[in-house]
Symmetry: C2
Subunit: 229 residues, 2 copies
Amino acid sequence: MEKKFDDYPHPAVTVDVVIFTVKDKELKVLLVKRKNEPFKNKWAIPGGFVRMNESLEEATKRELFEETGVKDVYLEQLYSFGEVDRDPRGRVITIAYFALISLEKAAQKLRATTDVSEVAWFPISKLPELAFDHAKILEYAKKRLRWKFEYTTVAFSLLDKKFTLSEVQKIYEIIFQKKFDKRNFRKKLLSLNILESAGKEKEVSHRPPQLFSLKKKIGEIVEILKVQD
Amino acid sequence: MEKKFDDYPHPAVTVDVVIFTVKDKELKVLLVKRKNEPFKNKWAIPGGFVRMNESLEEATKRELFEETGVKDVYLEQLYSFGEVDRDPRGRVITIAYFALISLEKAAQKLRATTDVSEVAWFPISKLPELAFDHAKILEYAKKRLRWKFEYTTVAFSLLDKKFTLSEVQKIYEIIFQKKFDKRNFRKKLLSLNILESAGKEKEVSHRPPQLFSLKKKIGEIVEILKVQD
DNA sequence: TCAAAAGTGTTCCGAATACACCCATGA
DNA sequence: TCATGGGTGTATTCGGAACACTTTTGA
């Protein structure tokens, strides 16, 4: 089983982050355009090598910050991809993460870097051809994303601290590409006992909505919505 | 973001497999006793280095086979662990998998290897102290296991091709440490439309039970049982 | 007074739960 | 005939789904 520590050559290890946001009533993903070979001028999921003195999550946060300038976003490990030939340069194992960032945070300037000529948000429905096995990674991320919306409270990480029930519903309608009944949606959301009242919105030219915020202590899994096709 | 391919030193990469079975009416996990430092004589989850010419899954299957002599078992990737100091020998990133093997397969002889002095099944309720961050990995695996039993048909990978409904129920009662109502359990299982009749058991000294087998084409996620505490 | 979005209740249906007795067989 | 596990039905409760109109505000 185990040999001495350095008997085997070591593969390279990268982290890749699938960064989602909701913008212009669409689910979007952040991609970068590669400046170098391989896959020069192809779009790719942002990522980079893991340094020896940082954990996988630290590496991912660093990449995320370098690419978007944002911190403190929803971040979770997705899956590790390790096919032998997934990178033509040699053996590279990647640990993929996925992140959800809110509209305001995402509105900050995106910055190209030394290895990237462009950075842009792509609607999930109109993706370009992707480098490496990134199409597969993205597929995986989309599945996970939907699952997370059904079974956990991640949706709220796309909203402000205070939000209206209609805003929550809109997010769900975008993610699931489906309309929900307003009364049932609100009833379900309120019955979960995860929200608390947070005053009223002002300065709208119609009936002002109630604001809510997420309660602090919530179990990890809260079956939010059962969505059928 | 990216530098030239070999600008960074590479961490070592291992795979670890949490191997579960149900034996003697208990959920058990396979552990190995380490022959060498670090953590000499401590119990650990079996695992080893990923070779340059094998994928993560291939490496895991190889380890699984070396340790238990079994092939063709349920295997899925669990999570990757990459804290900087998780291995005192240096930077080691591990991709953890979990496997479920059936009683008969598990009954084969377990074999010690060059780096392992003993191999043994431990009931999940009476675990020894574990090497590295393996306690954390095992915790993670236990959670995933329960989830899988609630939402998928993994349970059947612990049974023969043909099985009785009572056998299925026993497996669930062991995993969830909880009794289920026989009529409701059977009703639910049959209503899922995932089983087909496979004759009758013979040679039992009581009313012979119906046998069932799992239908071939089943969606990935079938909400089998909702289990409440 | 109008436009815009907020807010609200009831009926129906299907699934989950609780619960106890008879059946078929070999010993 | 007995011991052993196999097998079965009904009533109740709870949550999900369908469905349309009134309210509040600023412009």
